[in-house]
Each structure stands twice: as C-alpha cells, then as structure tokens.
C-alpha cells in the first residue's frame, strides 16, 4: 500500500473515520475467512481455497493500521470474536459468507473513494476493485455496482 497519506499526520477526522471503517471491515474479513477456509480448504481443489484471499485481507488490514497510526490516530482493535450473519455448515454457505465479507469490504472502501485526498481515493478504488473481483469469483456472477449494492444487513457484528 502506498500513498502520500501514509507518511503524514495531516488527515482530517473524516478521512480517519473512513480508514477506521475500512479497517473494521478488513478485520471482520480476516475473522470470517478463517471460518470460510476451515469449511472450504479441506475439500477445495488446489488454488480454489480461501487462503490467498485471507492473506490479502491480512495485508490490507496491516496497511490500514499503519496508515492510521502514521496519521497520528489509534487504530481501533478488532473484537475478539464476531457473530456470523449466516450459519456456515456447508461449502455453499462458506461461499455465501465469503461474498458477504467481500461486499462489506467493498462498501467500506467506497467511503475512501468519497474523500478528496487523491492517494486515499486511489487506495479505495484499488481495494474496491480487488474486493469486487473476489466477490464475483465466490458468487460466480457479477453485479453492476460493486460497493454500492445493498448489503449492510449482512455485516458481521462483534460477538
């Protein structure tokens, strides 16, 4: 992750709030992909498990943590656990949870796109696209407006 915002403390309250929201979504994704992977990886063909996506969210989470810290704010820590929005007992349910996680991440990064800071807007666009690509793979279909689709009712809640 790169950008001017990473090396300064000049970010305003709105930018910090958007970064914290993106961090919260990435933290939830890291937790959720642990569940997805536990269900998928034993039966998935090589390359079709959840490991790569899990790592991608860990990297993004760590990058956001560093950005928030560099801006002079304190990253909000992740909850110890979350209440999952759906039961995950089958491979199909695991795929559905992955879609929910990615949709929530995409929506969170949309807040960064709405900022005036160019580097944060670039970061938001890049991560929004990455989340949309992962969601489309898990969903096995595309949607016309990633990040702007309704989906908040499925967000993970701290448990």
């Amino acid at each position: 992750m790169t950008g001017r915002a990473g090396s300064t403390g000049r970010l305003g309250a709105r930018a910090i709030a958007a970064l914290q929201a993106a961090l919260a979504a990435e933290q939830a994704a890291c937790y959720g992909y642990g569940v997805v992977g536990a269900r998928l990886n034993a039966s998935a063909p090589p390359g079709q498990g959840a490991d790569a996506d899990w790592v991608a969210h860990q990297v993004a989470r760590d990058g956001l943590t560093a950005l928030i810290t560099a801006a002079g704010a304190t990253p909000v820590p992740a909850p110890v656990a979350y209440e999952l929005p759906i039961q995950v007992n089958t491979v199909a349910q695991a795929r559905s949870l992955a879609v929910i996680l990615e949709d929530n991440v995409a929506a969170a990064y949309m807040s960064l796109v709405g900022l005036s800071d160019t580097s944060l807007r670039e970061l938001g666009t890049r991560e929004l696209t990455a989340a949309a690509l992962r969601a489309a793979r898990w969903r096995r279909s595309t949607v016309p407006f990633p990040g702007l689709e309704p989906g908040d009712e499925h967000s993970l809640q701290p448990g």
Binding site: A106, M110, V113, G114, L115, S116, T118, R121, E122, G124, T125, R126, L128, T129, A131, A132, L133, A135, A136, R137, S141, T142, V143, P144, F145, P146, G147, L148
Partner: protein
C-alpha cells in the same frame, strides 16, 4: 446559432460564446461515450457467439450491466441548454469485433480492462459522489474481464 440579448436602451448585443462545461461534466460525458462504445461492442459480439448458448447468456448479462451503467451515468449529466458542451460528444472509436468467437471475446475483455483503468484515473478529479459511481463502474468492468477470459479460453 448565436444567442442574442435584446436591450431597450443599448440596442441588440451579441453575447459571447457560452462558457465551456466544467471539467467534471466533460469527464462524465467521456464516461458516457465510453459506455456507449462498450454497449455497441457487446451488441456486435453477441451474434458472433450465437452458436454457444453459455457465451450468449453471459454476454447478454454483461450487456445488461453496461446498460445499467449508462443509465446511471446519464442520470447524473445535467447540462444547461445552450452551454458549449451540450451537443452530443464526438463518437469514441468503436471496438473492432473479430468474426471468430474467441477473438471477439478477447477483444471485449481487452476493452473492458482498458475502460476500467480509464475510469479509475478519471474519477480522481471528480466530485465525491461521481467518483464513487465511477469507481463502482470501474470495479464492475474489471469483474467482466475474468468472465470473458474464461469464455474464450474454454475449449
């Protein structure tokens, strides 16, 4: 047509040229034009894949998403009548669609990737709500690429 202003005291004055549309309006018009080009590309490609029901259905679905993109972009365009840029934009170069199905699908994939990158750059100078719409459309067009790639790479 040259706009005229009638004044009882000073006679008839010819107004200067209307001001150009602001940059975000021009960028929006460019995005609309690019979306129309993609739609035309899909409409040209669909007959070339008609023998493959799976590819036909996939292209129809992607075309429908582009039509939604165009509708959303067009709904954001509000240009005062008579402004310098109110006329239709110059046509953007059409996507050449080869006759063979794999090449037609590959051409669409290339066009989708280019359109996604272009929007990701354009949005940097746009007002926030438009930037968000363009980012979403850019992401959507990026998701079309693997769909098209899978179709043309499949035996």
């Amino acid at each position: 047509m040259i706009p005229l202003l009638a004044s009882a005291c000073r006679g008839v004055q010819v107004l200067g040229a209307p001001p150009p549309a602001p940059p975000d309006v021009r960028q929006l018009r460019t995005a609309i034009s690019a979306e129309r080009v993609l739609i035309a590309g899909y409409r040209a490609a669909i007959p070339r894949v008609s023998a493959d029901a799976s590819a036909s259905a996939a292209l129809a679905g992607l075309l429908a998403e582009h039509e939604q993109h165009l509708a959303q972009l067009s709904s954001r365009l509000i240009v005062p009548a008579g402004s310098a840029d109110s006329a239709a934009p110059k046509a953007t170069a059409a996507i050449p669609i080869p006759a063979a199905m794999p090449a037609a699908l590959a051409a669409l994939a290339t066009a989708e990737q280019a359109a996604s990158h272009r929007l990701a750059t354009q949005l940097l100078g746009m007002p926030p709500s438009l930037a968000q719409l363009l980012a979403s459309i850019s992401a959507s067009e990026a998701t079309h690429v693997p769909v098209l790639d899978a179709l043309w790479r499949s035996p």
